[in-house]
């Protein structure tokens, strides 16, 4: 997304950091809340709670995007991350065994290493961002991140990555289907119709009758 370009050149600071506007105060407060939620999400021993704290963290990020006038990205964040990625995670947790209460095996022996890596990554990012922008002031015009601006930049300048994305998504789709199918192929095919009626499955009336279909719907639960 091309917010920097939309907002113009990186002018040196003409405003001080000591007289924050309301939006900036909210930005910092929400940022702290996001940080807190993220830490709890990593630290909690209850699997589903971790995913739900992730919801809070990602929702907070959406608010941060909004405050940076990246309207479109903010709602993409809500629609994709809250509405589908987190739901996918929750789904995965609930389909596999996610007990209510603490999971004793939720802690890894590597947590100190993980903490170290996390701190290193955070340190790198913060250093990079601070070094890149220093005290420059980006004036965020309202509407600089709206859908039409995003669309304009996407379809003028970034058409090729956009098309490449569709190939990537297609690959992900096929990969997912192949993975889910290969496990099912190993299991024996449902043959309830043949076993019950003594007729070949190919016999049209038997295969279409509710009696032949009901075992499969029972299996589902």
């Amino acid at each position: 997304m091309n917010i920097l370009a939309a907002a113009g050149s990186l002018a040196p600071a003409t405003r001080g950091f000591l007289s924050p506007t309301g939006a900036e105060i909210v930005f910092v407060l929400v940022g702290l809340a996001v940080l807190g939620a993220a830490v709890i999400s990593v630290g909690t021993r209850q699997l589903v709670h971790a995913a739900l704290w992730l919801v809070v963290a990602l929702g907070g990020l959406a608010i941060e995007f909004l405050l940076l006038t990246a309207e479109f990205v903010a709602w993409v964040q809500v629609l994709i991350y809250l509405g589908s990625v987190v739901v996918l995670v929750l789904f995965g947790l609930m389909l596999t065994k996610a007990p209510i209460g603490r999971s004793p095996d939720a802690d890894s022996g590597n947590r100190w290493v993980a903490l170290l890596v996390a701190l290193a990554a955070a340190g790198t990012l913060v250093t990079l961002v601070v070094d890149a922008f220093r005290t420059s002031w980006i004036d965020l015009g309202a509407g600089g991140g709206s859908a039409s601006v995003t669309g304009a930049s996407l379809f003028r300048n970034w058409v090729l990555p956009f098309e490449a994305l569709s190939v990537l998504l297609l690959a992900a789709l096929i990969g997912a289907i192949v993975l889910s199918r290969s496990r099912q192929a190993a299991a024996p095919k449902p043959r309830a119709g043949r076993l019950r009626t003594g007729k070949p499955v190919g016999a049209a009336p038997a295969a279409k009758s509710p009696a032949a279909q009901s075992p499969s719907s029972e299996r589902e639960s």
């Binding site: 509405g83 589908s84 859908a147």
Partner: protein
């Protein structure tokens, strides 16, 4: 714009959010009864039982609040609010009449609405999982699978309306409406409305709460006010889906009356659609779970893609 004005608009949205679903619910009581040759509620309030839902609300408020022993308390208690509140935000941005008769116009209108409505599914998953009940969990998973499957055609159909208008703003879409959009966007309207119906888990798409299979799905363990919140979210959902269909595909306030009465058209169209929702509930039997999923992916999604292609081609043809 000052704070008081904004606060007034928010409270107005809240009032609409609390009253209109009751009207729809009462209409459902009566319409459903008469479609089945019954009378429906006749006592509460005197005249044809008009206060039945108020009485229900009073009853719900006084009922004991039970959290099952095995449940995850906090999440169990939070879930109804998470599934209810998204609809409140949608009501704020739905334009009712011309000249800024709207709670609060948001530039990303339609995208905002779809994103916010998508959050409700988390509430239902929370409810299903936190109840510590097999049927609830299964219901929650079914709900989530259904909501996600039908969210896609809904998003695609809404994108078609946005393409036709060339803007994401709900007000902008209604302003750009012409009568010939009706045939042009008919497929999109059908897909959007049907998918919306499925998102609400209304019959015939109510497999996630099918009482004959899984008791009441994710809501099995709920009582009292928390259960009432889930019910309210269903009826607020009807209001929201009907209002959005009106705004996106039926021209909102456009109609053969002066602009000053435009709000009447919006409300009229919304309630006409709400009647259709009730009508469909009475008429059709419940779809089986596999039919439900197949319908979303093999009927609605392809139809929505066809509508997108149609919209794109005609729109480019017009603008050149």
């Amino acid at each position: 714009m000052n704070l008081l004005d904004t606060l007034l608009r928010c409270v107005a949205a809240l009032v609409v959010f609390l009253t209109f679903p009751l009207i729809i619910g009462q209409t459902e009581h009566k319409v459903m009864a008469h479609m089945q040759g019954r009378l429906g509620p006749m006592y509460a309030g005197g005249f044809h039982g008009w206060a039945q839902l108020v009485a229900d609300g009073v009853k719900f408020a006084q009922k004991e609040d039970i959290v099952p022993a095995g449940a995850d308390r906090r999440i169990f208690q939070l879930a109804p609010a998470v599934s209810l509140l998204p609809y409140l935000f949608v009501l704020l941005v739905v334009p009712v009449g011309p000249h800024g008769f709207v709670g609060q116009a948001v530039d990303a209108g339609i995208f905002f609405v779809l994103a916010v409505m998508g959050v409700g599914v988390i509430g239902k998953l929370m409810a299903g999982w936190a109840s510590a009940n097999k049927f609830s969990l299964l219901g929650g998973l079914r709900t989530a699978a259904q909501l996600m499957s039908y969210e896609l055609p809904m998003v695609l159909a809404a994108a078609s309306a946005a393409m036709a208008a060339g803007t994401l703003s709900l007000t902008g879409i209604v302003e750009a409406f012409h009568w010939w959009w009706l045939p042009w966007q008919a497929i999109g309207a059908f897909v959007f409305f049907t998918a919306g119906l499925a998102e609400l888990q209304r019959p015939p798409f109510d497999m996630p709460v099918a009482d004959s299979e899984i008791i009441f799905g994710a809501y099995t363990e709920y009582t009292g006010l928390r259960f009432a919140f889930f019910l309210l979210s269903e009826y607020a959902g009807i209001l929201v889906v009907c209002a959005l269909t009106t705004v996106l595909f039926l021209g909102g306030w456009h109609g053969p009356l002066p602009d000053s009465l435009g709000w009447l058209w919006t409300i009229l169209k919304t309630f006409a659609l709400a009647f259709v929702v009730i009508w469909l509930r009475v008429t059709y039997p419940r779809l089986r779970e596999d039919q439900l999923m197949r319908f979303a992916w093999t009927v609605l999604v392809p139809l929505a893609l066809v509508q997108l292609a149609l919209t794109g081609i005609i729109k480019v043809a017009i603008s050149q």
